[in-house]
């Protein structure tokens, strides 16, 4: 959107314009920033297992409790935040093809 030369000024104008046309619905729902919480099962730097475990737990939860069970979405929220989108797409493709290596 903004040319390299006048990035700062352009972004300031752009942001101000958006501020005045903001829909209050989005503002209200995002007023408090929230993300996947700290999980003491994975306290260290390597969070790979947190991502994979949440993904697998979501699908296991759906399988056991049914597709409409709302609390399963906690796992979905976590893996959406933690896992790279490319990984999620890859695993979803594998699930659809029936070649996902994990046990659901």
């Amino acid at each position: 959107v903004c040319a390299v030369r006048q990035v700062a000024l352009c972004q300031l104008v752009h942001t101000t314009a958006i501020l005045f046309t903001m829909s209050s619905a989005i503002m209200a729902s995002n007023a408090k920033l929230e993300t996947a919480p700290f999980d003491p099962r994975f306290p260290n730097q390597n969070q790979t297992k947190y991502c994979y475990q949440s993904f697998v737990d979501y699908h296991r939860c759906q399988k056991i409790k049914g597709e409409d069970y709302e609390p399963c979405n906690y796992f979905k929220k976590v893996f959406s935040s933690i896992c790279p989108n490319a990984w999620i797409e890859n695993w979803n493709d594998q699930l659809e093809s029936g070649i996902f290596p994990g046990k659901i």
Partner: protein
């Protein structure tokens, strides 16, 4: 970012980096004192033409120059261990940002609410308009005074994501998610460069964080599907 002739650490933009800088300065002070003292004694002894033929035993000074260094080391170790454990504390982050290293650019994903993804390439150098090797086309907006969880990975080879003024560095390894946590306490632009050799353009994939107010950040997220 450092300016020409910069010898020390960059100005900190995060409370942890501030503590690291203080520890560095504290330890450097002690080291310079020791080096100056030892250097002075060395030069003095070398240039002194007199010889003490009865130099023997001297238990008192031996005790002093054994105990005194031990005390100095304790003065270094105490802040060091305090900082070591401080860096390891678990944080309740308010936002998670993912960064994936590619050859030769970084891609960023903000997936907490609306899924925002973008790539960040080095901006081509044009005279008088940007910082050579440091500017990017899309900066990473970060909300101020918010605990950020950053998940770092790579898509092809090993890279490393770092911002020196925040005291953050972690390798981006394919198939692994490395987590770092930081908080930016002043608005501004903070630069970093890829820190693990990753091929021909390893020197040409910089990182640029722009820390802005929480409101501006929320505006940006909702206007960037």
């Amino acid at each position: 970012m450092p300016t020409w002739g910069c010898l020390g650490l960059q100005d900190s933009a995060s409370p942890l980096m501030e503590q690291l800088t203080y520890f560095h300065d504290h330890t450097m002070f002690i080291l310079i004192l020791i080096t100056t003292l030892v250097g002075y004694i060395l030069i003095n002894s070398t240039l002194n033409s007199l010889i003490n033929r009865f130099l023997l035993e001297n238990q008192e000074i031996e005790i002093i120059w054994t105990v005194l260094p031990a005390i100095i080391l304790i003065f270094i170790a105490m802040p060091s261990l305090r900082l070591l454990y401080l860096l390891d504390e678990t944080n309740n982050s308010s936002i998670t940002i993912k960064t994936i290293g590619h050859q030769w650019y970084w891609s960023y994903e903000y997936s907490d609410f609306l899924d925002v993804e973008f790539d960040s390439f080095m901006a081509p150098y044009s005279i008088d308009s940007n910082l050579r090797l440091l500017d990017v086309d899309n900066r990473i907006p970060i909300p101020l005074n918010t605990q950020i969880r950053l998940i770092i990975s790579a898509a092809d080879v090993i890279h490393s994501w770092t911002i020196p003024s925040l005291g953050v560095k972690a390798d981006a390894i394919p198939g692994r998610l490395n987590q770092v946590s930081f908080l930016v306490n002043r608005p501004g632009l903070f630069y970093g460069q890829c820190s693990e050799i990753c091929g021909a353009n390893h020197s040409f994939m910089p990182i640029l964080i722009e820390s802005i107010s929480v409101d501006s950040f929320l505006n940006w997220v909702s206007s960037n599907p």
